[in-house]
Subunit: 219 residues, 2 copies
């Protein structure tokens, strides 16, 4: 029996997997909070059960750690998404469910959002280098593609609907809602981030997405 899934490090037993997970969890949180240069290896290690030595032992250098942290963040979030099943819902409901779910899911994963923000600041350098992440995301859009196809076939969606453009729209709203909360609320007040404000935005976003998916209303 291996201890690779349990997290206990009673006393002073070796626990490589546990150590790695410990480091990664803290690293995600620190990188997300302060960015790549802003995060300090010493600060990360301070929040850890282990020593700086282990970071370099397992991850090589700060960049290596960052990369693995990014992968971990993506992995966790995409796992959460995969849990959503809308197989037998009719296209319209499937789409609005997906939008509302994405909106909420992003809100629940602010660290992931922040990692992506940081990655964008750095021109997606690490992300581009990660085969692992790219594979994850191809799958992420399949669900949406399938909805589009069904909707088109049934005539409830417009023809030639581009799933990637639609995904862009869904992501834009859901992402911005988390990423820009600090500046937006500083400038325009926090009303839209109250519970009521957020349900309103969620509903509004669903409506907006449905509008561009459905055939244009005749004037």
């Amino acid at each position: 029996m291996t201890n690779s899934t349990t997290d206990d490090r009673r006393g002073w037993t070796q626990n490589p997997e546990g150590v790695k997970r410990d480091i990664l969890a803290v690293a995600v949180s620190e990188f997300a909070a302060r960015g790549f240069s802003g995060a300090k290896v010493d600060d990360i290690v301070a929040r850890t059960q282990t020593s700086k030595r282990m970071i370099y032992y397992y991850f090589g250098d700060k960049k290596g750690l960052y990369m693995r942290a990014l992968e971990a963040a993506y992995l966790k979030v995409r796992e959460g998404e995969a849990a959503l099943d809308l197989g037998d819902l009719p296209p319209l409901e499937a789409l609005s469910t997906l939008v509302a779910f994405t909106f909420d899911h992003h809100r629940e994963n602010p660290d992931f959002i922040r990692m992506v923000m940081i990655e964008n600041i750095h021109q997606a350098e690490a992300l581009s280098a990660s085969e692992k992440i790219r594979k994850l995301n191809v799958a992420a859009i399949d669900k949406l593609r399938e909805i589009c196809e069904r909707g088109e076939k049934e005539g409830v969606f417009r023809h030639g609907l581009d799933p990637i453009a639609l995904h862009w729209q869904i992501s834009a709203a859901s992402f911005f809602n988390v990423s820009n909360r600090p500046t937006f609320s500083a400038l325009f007040g926090a009303d839209v981030f109250t519970e009521d404000g957020q349900s309103h935005l969620r509903k509004q976003t669903v409506e907006a997405i449905l509008a561009i998916a459905q055939p244009e209303a005749p004037l």
Copy 2:
């Protein structure tokens, strides 16, 4: 006659305003490119006509410089927005013009977008401290508020339309389009960022915004 508006520093004449502007311009670009901790004062100064000494002379410290750079970025962008006049357009056209304009304007000011991204990483700390910026932005939303009021009165917009929520929607699309380009194109291809892709998104975004502004279509 003062030399505060001209930028020439022939030979070795003093030119405080020119020096400040020189530094600020480079600072915006560097901070936008590398973030607060990522940007190095020495790198900034290297791209400047002046010396490190002057940065500390005029801006106190790195944070002071960052703050002024942020203000400069906001100022420039809001000036560009103010140039847009849609006073006599009917509400629907005014709104779609505003959306399309914002979409394009953000694209044309990537450094501004990146400064805001960085500010969001840092919880809008500097922005909150800047009276100057907050004032600018109150004005930014007036235009939209006025459109909403007219549209409501004329019955072409739904009742109780919240200008701030609408601004959120417009910003989300326009901002995300620039901020997340690196990761989005790394994951899903660059098609949506070609000229054709962008016009499609712009049109789609206008349509989405109009849909949530107009009265709901009867089923």
